[in-house]
Symmetry: C2
Subunit: 355 residues, 2 copies
DNA sequence: CTGAAAGCGCTTACAG
DNA sequence: CTGAAAGCGCTTACAG
């Protein structure tokens, strides 16, 4: 049914080995095929519309030309949830992959754990949630240990696992917070708050950002009121469940909490732009003027950040570049199995209307 | 190097055929394996960490358990560009795929044309741009003709190709425009405009929506001023290049054009929400109050549509459902090669602040 | 420069 | 209930 190498060989009156050699020019150039044979075979292949069978190539141990992508969510999620954040990464990754003849497999569930074992993917990009304090942490450690042993090409984006040295690309959160702190100083805000994730197990980067911000504010001689930093468990404030648009709700509930408890704030720094959106929603509903009464600063520079009203002042992550660099890392790792790298990416402050 | 079926067979002291039978329980149930053998083999497989080789399975003609997804952009684009629009579809598609043991391959470039031929994917979801008036139209027709001949499982989302009857799922644009027209009547807007794509080759759905709207307004006895309908080539207005955030620019340039040419409008219906965002940007910059001076209506209900200021009144497309239905169609088509379906999905009006 | 043949890791009639 | 063997479509030493 499928036109195979045999059909081409027969049509061109050569052996299947010859057809194979023509379709797989060896890099060393030691295998030679006469020009006539080559054109005859190529013509036959063209006429028969021959395309090599993917499975057979894989079985022979060839590259799948496929890169896996997974969000590696904690256990209660089974899907790779794509947001505009992951889209930006995927667009960069996809563009670079295309340039090198690779395609992207979006892996849902936990199958990513063994797809390199069975040759289904050549490499893996992991975008994951922090597993600090998470029951699955031990399991993740085992996975990473195995990946390292087998020298698999994989890379972790914007994440880190306590106690493990992983190949990764991360945004420089400290530098991001420096940019924010400088902006705060230049605008003269005094009472600074932070809203990350209002849940017992916030993602690592929110915690990192909150801590950096405190340190920097102190360095700049600004007062730090811990009661204005909402991340993790907050006494008197119910945890926001991690389902649906929870980031928006973190922001909304966070500002509501500060307002109701009469804790005045000049400027709210948010763990990401979606949280900022929730803050702005509450402010809009309660006629709190931004930035007049309250300045809001986000993180990420999400799609459309400049189209909100007010447009969001935020720290831009070059996520498309993350995708491109991830692919380049994987390619290099495939060529040099002992290669290892951890990159820290410098972010940029996008000053807009909200602060 | 790779633990194969042979290793398991040896460890469990059985033949490889037996191992295979245990791992591939036949649906008819006619092949029986004793309980002891089964547990012994399973234990051995577990101990050795056996996972069947993907390539070998494929070679045996088995399903790849992979669904392709492509944006099938016109020739100047080579990548599947993922936006929040495609993310919504992919999330529904991915969730349903996961439930049925499938993964998603994001196909960049034109390789989607032959991936079903080589068994790299079992089915294909195509999200594409209208190719009316496009040089590649003939080529696309050939592709679809071949797909139909081979009874391949594929489906086209929110698109149509003139002169071809394709398996597809489309939003009911006429119904969407009816909802909008009814809303316009109830709010009493009189001077109605439309902004789609300001380019010689606008996508089909913008044209469809513009035409439906005109027809409906006339039915409702409202005046229709053609000079307020901006879609396609507009005399006196330069085409907006199709690169980057062009939709935003269509909206921005569109309202700018109407304003400068003193063509007053009550209500602007936009071909999608991103265009509405561009309109709102211009209005914000020029202190045109929305909805006070100008009502704005979008289409799609994009991610965060309710978080813009004002929140966007729009027609919601259940894109996650499009993804789920697409997968269900493909599954059915795989089981029944002669199955064919075209679905029209009923949209919903989301009344918010902008109109 | 070209061909014959082994073998990649599986599944599946077929035989027992 | 279990096994021996053919074969899926390729690539790759090896021989000529």
């Amino acid at each position: 049914m499928h036109i195979g190498i045999k059909d081409v060989a027969q049509a061109a009156q050569v052996s299947i080995g010859t057809v194979s050699k023509i379709f797989n020019p060896d890099p060393s150039g030691s295998i030679k095929i006469s020009a006539e044979t080559r054109t005859r075979v190529l013509a036959a292949a063209q006429r028969l519309n021959y395309t090599p069978n993917y499975g057979a190539k894989l079985l022979r141990g060839q590259s799948t030309k496929t890169i896996g992508f997974t969000a590696a969510l904690p256990e209660e999620h089974i899907c790779s949830w794509l947001s505009d954040y992951s889209s930006r990464i995927l667009n960069g990754l996809g563009e670079e992959a295309q340039r090198h003849g690779y395609q992207l497999l979006i892996i849902n569930g936990r199958d990513y754990q063994y797809y390199m074992d069975i040759n289904r993917i050549d490499g893996l990009v992991m975008l994951g949630y922090s597993l600090d304090n998470n029951p699955r942490q031990a399991e993740m450690h085992d996975i990473f240990r195995r990946f390292a042993e087998k020298k698999y090409p994989y890379i972790v984006l914007n994440n880190s696992y306590r106690g493990l040295d992983l190949p990764q690309i991360n945004i420089d959160n400290v530098r991001g917070m420096e940019l924010i702190a400088e902006h705060i100083v230049s605008r003269g805000y005094r009472r600074i708050g932070f809203i990350g994730e209002i849940t017992p197990n916030p993602q690592r980067h929110h915690t990192d950002r909150a801590e950096s911000l405190k340190t920097l504010l102190r360095q700049y001689g600004l007062p730090v009121d811990e009661s204005l930093f909402l991340n993790g468990v907050i006494p008197g404030l119910d945890a926001v469940p991690r389902s649906g648009n929870y980031s928006h709700r973190d922001g909304y509930c966070g500002l509501e909490f500060l307002t109701r408890n009469r804790r005045p704030v000049d400027c709210l720094v948010c763990g990401n732009d979606t949280i900022a959106l929730g803050v702005m929603k509450y402010a809009h509903e309660h006629r709190i003027a931004i930035p007049g009464e309250l300045a809001v600063i986000g993180f990420d520079d999400m799609v459309n950040a400049e189209y909100f009203t007010p447009s969001i002042t935020t720290v831009r992550q070059p996520l498309e570049d993350f995708g491109r660099m991830a692919l380049q890392y994987l390619l290099r790792k495939m060529a040099e199995p002992d290669y290892f790298e951890q990159k820290l990416i410098t972010p940029e402050l996008m000053v807009r209307e909200s602060a």
